[in-house]
Symmetry: C2
Subunit: 256 residues, 2 copies
């Protein structure tokens, strides 16, 4: 079956969705068959991949609740070789509904047990929290890619995320590991970015990808056109950084 | 009693904490007695106001669970006339614990029924979700201040937030209203910011504050010194914008 990567960090606005969209697109560009699962009720990954509201009638919500098979929720995106399980409005209520359900942390893992044969990679975009939606993603995943914004507040939560991943590995999913940490929105005009990079590399060492994603306005413009930045402006520094990141992610996968 | 303002938006990284810290500081600077309640398990507001980990033994968690009175959780900040109810590590588990409790949306409102006499304003910093922690803040609040980042993804969730506030007003807290929407991280080099501002003012009209918070590196550096930007660099464009915002918030409060 495919390799399943959760894109997770409970800190908000650090580039989870942007990384899920553009890493997936860069992998599809080198002929990998990729599925993006949008676990965030905000549905930004679905929008950024050009999925219309009308195509979201069967979504991650129905898959989690066991009301639809995975295959019924998969729809094509604006990118060849890239499919999406979109998020729907009902997903906002899923967190509370899951609490009362049996196997509440395993619902996504169970749903992914079939229907994935034609994919090489699955990327799961997580919401900014460590609740049951993110826990479902961590239980279903083989590895975690952690976007880390080059800001002071973003550093503060990272040890809590690492502890949570270790707890999930110990209790629910023994194969789970952090594949890597990707520094995002790096601004070379700003000392804070360099300070954060030095701190993170000193603490996490080789876990940190060499590729650093720069702050680049083309990246934030692309979603308003329903396209990944690789399609919107391939030559931009942001798009090129995601191409390099995909190379690193694929290489680390082979080394395992 | 004091006026209670929830600083809320489920989109992550839009400037909720930065607005809570600096709006509170600007109000304290004009002799208002202000309390900041940190409802976010990440604890960024507590850190940005200089609250040491050792001072967080009694936190928002104990207040919500009824294990401590509000007065026991209040501690002084690095700013005169500004106190804080800090967030603690236990708050991360509160969301799940609250589900099983009676009056689960009213716990904060009940806890704030006493112990607030000496304050003019209470600002509640919310996590990036519309779960039970944010619902508690919306039920306890008189008004909501909504930070809105000048980015495309940030626009996408705003109608869901407005609907949620209306539902809370209809079912749980009839006095709740949006006091205003504040545009944050505005970058005049970037057309996207201007596009978002035009859209938001066209749609929300007078609800949008005239003050726009610019993207300003001094704002993001301040938390690493445990200080609000008003204390870290009062002359910066970011600090000055928060001073103007406080003027607008105080004027709107008097007009009610
Ligand atoms: N490298 C970049 N350069 C410029 N803007 C960026 C970059 N990466 C992300 N952004 C913008 O920053 C904002 C936050 O990014 P994004 O929404 O991907 O973060 P997130 O972690 O998914 O947020 P949330 O926690 O709400 O899910 C978005 O508006 C996005 O367009
Ligand atoms: N006006 C600004 N200029 C520059 N940086 C800013 C500005 N406002 C906020 N920031 C930075 O942007 C990041 C996100 O802001 P902040 O943490 O306040 O958002 P938030 O909505 O509270 O995030 P979360 O959803 O995780 O709670 C922080 O690193 C902060 O320092
Ligand atoms: Mg996201
Ligand atoms: Mg915050």
């Amino acid at each position: 079956g495919p390799k399943i990567l959760a894109i997770a960090n409970q800190k908000g606005g650090v580039g989870k969705t942007t990384t899920a969209i553009n890493l997936a697109t860069a992998m599809a560009a080198v002929k990998k068959k990729v599925l993006v699962i949008d676990m965030d009720p905000q549905g930004n990954a679905s929008t950024g991949l050009g999925i219309d509201q009308s195509q979201r009638t069967v979504s991650t919500y129905e898959v989690l609740m066991g009301e639809a098979k995975l295959a019924q929720a998969i729809c094509p995106s604006s990118v060849p070789d890239l499919s999406v399980v979109p998020s729907g409005v009902d997903l906002a209520g899923a967190e509370l509904e899951l609490v009362e359900m049996s196997n509440r942390e395993f619902r996504l893992q169970q749903a992914l047990a079939e229907g994935l044969d034609r994919f090489d990679y699955v990327l799961i975009d997580c919401p900014p929290a460590l609740g049951l939606l993110t826990l479902n993603a961590l239980v279903a995943a083989d590895e975690v890619v952690v976007p880390l914004q080059c800001e002071f507040f973003a550093l503060e939560g990272i040890s809590h995320l690492v502890k949570t991943i270790e707890r999930v590995k110990g209790a629910l999913n023994p194969r789970l590991d952090i594949q890597g940490i990707v520094l995002t929105m790096f601004d070379r005009r700003n000392n804070l970015s360099t300070m954060v990079e030095n701190d993170v590399r000193a603490y996490f060492g080789a876990k940190v990808y060499k590729t650093v994603i720069p702050r680049n306005v083309r990246v934030s413009e692309a979603p308003s056109h329903g396209k990944p930045v690789l399609l919107y402006d391939f030559r931009s520094t942001g798009a090129q950084a995601y191409v390099h990141l995909a190379g690193e992610v694929l290489r680390r996968d082979r080394e395992v």
